[in-house]
């Protein structure tokens, strides 16, 4: 089964890295994957998108994703300015970085899960250039919400990407997000 994932964030938040981590995690489980950025003009702070595909079979399609199965939102405020539900499949799922409970978010016609990725980053002092790192933890949350990838695969992907203490800290963030994810269904 082909699963399509769209990631919304702001330039600098690591949306593309999140897509690649997801793909790497699924790849380590023997899946066929794709991960790619939205090919636009990325600017720090501006709303950006990235995409990932996961499948049991080779993936032929090479277009952007228009009808995602899952949407990941890295920035807690972005869903107010960007239609993050656009094209989302029926019974599709949105995983949101937010302190709110899923029912408080106010998104309709989809399953919503939330996790305070920003809070986790601050708690772990996981900062880059003074900004909280949220992309690694949200991938852990994705594993919990969707069961498309195992947490262990996410941790492996994180540690393969960053060695040493950075890898450990990011992996811990993914674990915490996995534990703390709140499902609204």
């Amino acid at each position: 089964m082909l699963k399509e994932i769209r990631i919304h964030g702001r330039g600098g938040q690591g949306s593309v890295t999140a897509a690649e981590l997801l793909a790497h995690a699924a790849f380590t489980e023997g899946k066929w994957v794709q991960a790619f950025p939205f090919f636009g003009a990325e600017r720090r702070g501006a709303p950006v998108k990235a995409f990932a595909r996961i499948s049991d079979e080779p993936i032929l399609v090479h277009s952007q994703i228009y009808t995602p199965d899952y949407v990941i939102v890295l920035d807690h405020a972005i869903y107010k300015v960007v239609d993050v539900t656009e094209g989302l499949k029926k019974d599709g799922m949105i995983i949101l970085n937010s302190r709110k409970k899923p029912k408080e978010v106010g998104l309709k016609d989809c399953r919503v899960a939330t996790v305070d990725a920003t809070g986790i980053a601050l708690e772990l002092n996981l900062l880059v250039a003074g900004l909280p790192v949220v992309n690694t933890s949200i991938v852990g949350a994705f594993a919990k919400a969707t069961s498309e990838v195992e947490l262990a695969s996410v941790l492996k992907a994180v540690k393969d990407t960053w060695s040493g203490s950075a890898g450990e800290k990011n992996a811990r963030a993914a674990e915490l997000a996995y534990e703390r994810l709140a499902k609204g269904w």
Binding site: E20, F27, V33, Q34, P37, F39, L60, V61, H62, S63
Partner: protein
Amino acid sequence: MKTVVKQEMLALNGDEAVAYAAKQPDVDVVAAYPVTPQTIIVEKFSEYVANGEVETEFVCTESEHSAMTACLTASVTGARTFTATSAPGLALMHEMLFVTSGCRAPVVMAVANRALSAPLNIHCDHSDTMAERDSGWIQLYAENAQEAYDLIIQGFKIAESQEVLLPVMVGLDGFTLTHTLENVQVLSDEVVRKFVGSHQIPKVVTHEGKIVPFKLDPDNPMSMGPIALPNYYFEFKRQQEEAMRNALKRISQVNEEFEVISGRRYGNGLLELYQVEDADVAIVCLGSTTGTVRTVVDELREEGVKAGVLKIRAFRPLPVEGIVEALKKVKAVAVMDRSMSFGGGGGAVFHEVRHALYDLTPHPNVVNYIYGLGGRDTSPTQIRQIFEDLQRMIQAKRVGELVRYVGLRG
């Protein structure tokens, strides 16, 4: 007998896959200048050099014109040579592309297909390589990162074949392939080295009657690419055309030889047919769009529509007979062009495919779709729309507009 070897599966983007392939067959010289979206190729390759993983001489040049000059001059000394570039870089190489093919230097080059300015755009289309289709280079186009990897390896073997001796450019769609992470199966260095073989240099007779390798060598001095006035120039060009004809056969052979070791085969190496055999409607395209078309063909087949896709893998040399054979029973054909031939009445691929079908009676109705310029995304919905247009064309028994635009605003 199949002797497919065990391969490692990696997650690589198209650029990384190309760099990985270029690292394997003992390349002597890489001369390059980085340009988006090709940059990762030269970055990766310079890492291999810095880490001592290859013994390649890496030449950082001040421009692409110089990069191609360095590749040409290295190649004619007998060095196996590789480079990579993209739109503005390829355009700057223009003069040296002709010199390289004219000197019969078997340089292999990856081109991350990208739009040409103005307005400035770094995203995918085929304006860059289509503008160089008459430069005397073999042109092969990759559908995905795996094929980009495979084509670079095959490229060395094709280019260096004694009956060919032509430079090869491998096109891979900018960003859509260069920056997309995908599963890529890689062969071992040893298997690739053995497959490509050592660089065999043909022997020629010097003016003194000595039989020597055809390369610049202080012990056996000779000139390459010297002046040829109206008395000889024409014959040189005719020979290049002969080499292109030989390349048709060689590309097919190398495709088959590659299947023996890798288990991967791409049609006959020149064209890849998918559900074309009994198709009423077919799309002709090249590059990464082919995969998207395949998925739409699958959907349409389930709906009972006889749709197919013909992928052109080798645009130079163009397999004219193969195109005729593939499309002779198809009723309506859409040729997709990801570049413009301004004022030419359609794109380059359209001109050539339609020309190939001229002698068929009756011949299919052929229309042109210009698409995806400057990285405009090509969705399955757009592809479906093209197939629907073709079906309507058959029903109405009327062709209508020959040149159309898909995904264009307004």
